[in-house]
Amino acid sequence: MTAASPTPSGDPLLAAKLSVPPVLRGLVSRRRLLDRLTEGTNGPLTLVTGPAGAGKTTAVASWAHHGTAPGPVVWVTPDREDSPRVFWAHVLEAFRRRLLLPDGGAGLPRAGDSAGRALLVRFAAALEGLAEPVVLVVDGLDKAPGREVAAGLEFLVDHAGPGLRLLLTSRVDPLLPLHRYRAEGRLCELRGAELAFTPREAAALLRGHGLAPGGEVVAGLTRRTEGWAAGLRLCALAVQRSGDPAGFATSYLASEQAVADYLLAEVLDAQPAAAQELLARTSVLDRVHPELADALTGRADAERILDRLVRDNCFVQPVAGTRWFRVHPLFAGVLHARLRSRWPGLEPVLHRRAARWFAASGQLTETLVHAAAAGDWPYAAGEAVRHLLAGRLLAGLDEGRIDALFSGMPADVPGAEAALVTAARLLARHDAAAARRWVLRAERRVRHREAAAGAGPEVRLTLALLRLLLAPHGTGSGAGAAARRTAELMAEVPAYRLKEHPEIEALRCHGRACALLAAGRPDETRAAFEETVRACTGEATHLVRHAAWGRLALAEAVRGELTAAADHAARALDVAERQGIPEDRRSGAGQLALATVACERCDFPTARHHLALAAEFTDTAADPVLRAERAVVRSRVELAHGRWAAASAVLDEAEPQVPGWPAGRLAVARSAVALARGDPAAALSALHRPGPPGAGRAAVPGDASRTVALALAHLAAGRPARALRLVAAADACPAPDLPDRVRIGLLRARAAALAGDRPAARALLGEALDAAAPEQLRRPFAEAGPWLRHLLRDVPPPAARWLTAGPPGRPAGPVLVEALSGREREVLAYAARMMSNEEIAAALHLSVNTVKTHLRSVYRKLGTSRRREAVERGRELHLL
């Protein structure tokens, strides 16, 4: 029904796209072209190029019917509106229909399911196993969307093995490395000059139309048309009408008209008025259906006229197995120009009628195309909302076509529907602020209308869904109500419509889960995301599933459930890769979760790697939760390398307009930075700083982190009793997250050690180690301070071994327990340049003794005893 929805296998229009077109009556058999194609398809790539009407398709189709191909011929005709995804889905489907793939193509995704590099790799591997050569014809590659399809074909040429023979026709040279293929002798080219008819072939063509003009006439026509196939056919048609070849040739050769212009006018003007009008009026269509044509002409003779045009070979062809017809592109262009010149102002009227015809036959995309072309925006928006199009846009099912259609809609189109469509388009691009303005506008318009007639359930459902999905971008308040409202309204919409659009239910679950995450309700968040993943069953919901896995992983990583987080993040990435979700629609949540996991395990190079990847996704900057978490992880990585100014700066960068739970996360991170640079007062004030408006100070369950951070600050400020009281309160909260539990344990151990009770401190440290070991949660220990190192010596080695063993799969790396000061880093940097203490002292304007003190401090913090070791470790930790 649309370019995005995988076309059901029974669709005859698709069948026509994927089969060799029938060859016309009266066709000239051009032996030299057939031989060239047979010769070309012995090699990997054959390219047929020439202008419109040069006879490219005819030549290749008659060759395919001729039977000298080296193996089965698989045919694909791309359409201009096909996305690369759809193009490859059709190629796969064409192979599958011919039963040409080993194991029936098992392991390859179904049509419409996927595209992308992963698909091509698997497809190429499957083609390598071909038992006999297969010719893949792509007829009209110029219509397939540019670079991406060309890049895929280039990949196949290089990797599909000798069995695949590509045969491409195009009006323009495709974006393939043709010069390289030529140099390697792998390319066979049939270009315009070779496709041009010789006088002899032209004579045969005219004979096929029952004409036998003299040699001079034939030579003249061939010269005038430059052997152009369409031109010669037009000549034949014109001569058939006039019955006077010589007379026609004389006047034609004397005319200065452009070839196509003259001939098309000749042929068209010879048609009866009804046929002329039908052709002109249907020129606003890509293909013509008799009933649709009747709707445009207001008559009832379309079928008869079209059948006659086909019989007369008049550049109209039926689409095999359907009631549709196609008009030759050359003809279509001229007809369109005629429509404009003869009936000015009629074009929008025709588009409006076509839109309504397509709407009545249930074809939404075509409806929208014609409503947009008519400038009939209220109708377009109304149909879009009635078909719950917002869900398609937000679930990434649109491929950009509908979005592009509505990009032409002026801002002042009235009606709630127009506002809703605009809001959905903006939100799909993560522009929440602008989307919110349009939702408010839609809300006012609905209320306005409610007083009069009442808005349809689809309008209200779309509105509720958008509000729900916007909730995490605001204060998160009202999300629960929006989720309930969405569910209620779903019950009011016809059931078949929801069944057609499973993405609505998936988005509802996802929106609710995201709102819970943003509201800092981690306990409910997990169940809500799991529900979302369960709701995402079909092809329509890949994007939502991808986003839900990623955010679930992030929620878990934040709670210290690192193993589960890593697993779910991997699933998020896998869905994206396997289903070929376009890069610009993917979510960075999975990468961010992996960065968090690595950071919590003190594997900072890995954390940095995932942070860099996460930064490439729009939503890690646009979504408040992701934006804050990204800043928090970046800050922690900077902190681990002793760069506290940078650690603080990344938090400041993220601060503006981040409300609610994310603000709390940032405050805790800021207090950690202050503590690391030895400033407990600043740590306390970071936690007391009033949040942005709306953030409130409500005791959300996530507040345990803040309490623990407060306690750590008080402890650092020398107030252990106060710290312990706070911790007791946090512990009473329903189950703090693992990182907080470990921090509480460490804080108590530290307090016990300060009170001189070493056995108690040891026992508490042992408990904390046992709690953190299953998740390999190292960071609370790394940030605890130098006191921990002394206490660790007293803990039996097996209990603490994992802490220093380094993350699995990497060489054992040390954990930086205490950050280097700026001066210490400078001294270390000079030491790395093989400078002596005296030289370093001179360079930094310090005394030699001070340099020695700094170096000793560096050795202690890095756990080394010598200069060379310290430099090496500094490199490992990226301090240098």
């Binding site: 452009a258 070839v259 212009d261 006018a265 050359l330 279509a332 001229v334 120009a337 005629r338 404009r340």
Partner: protein
């Protein structure tokens, strides 16, 4: 930017309707089309349109402002 396209043969006013944004000027055995071209995308779109109508371009140039 303004462009001029020189097309083989005379192009009828009816066919020239396909280029509402360009002015048409018949010259001996050729037709000139001139007009403002918004950007590269527009330019390539025009070239495709000429090709779609079977018109061949003999010369194309950007006009001095």
């Amino acid at each position: 930017m303004r462009y001029e396209f020189r097309v083989t043969g005379l192009v009828s006013p009816a066919l020239a309707e396909a280029f509402p944004e360009l002015e048409r000027e018949p010259v001996p055995q050729q037709t000139l089309f001139r007009g403002a071209v918004t950007d590269e995308a527009h330019l390539f779109g025009l070239l495709t349109r000429f090709q779609d109508l079977g018109l061949s371009i003999e010369e194309m140039r950007r006009l001095p402002e």
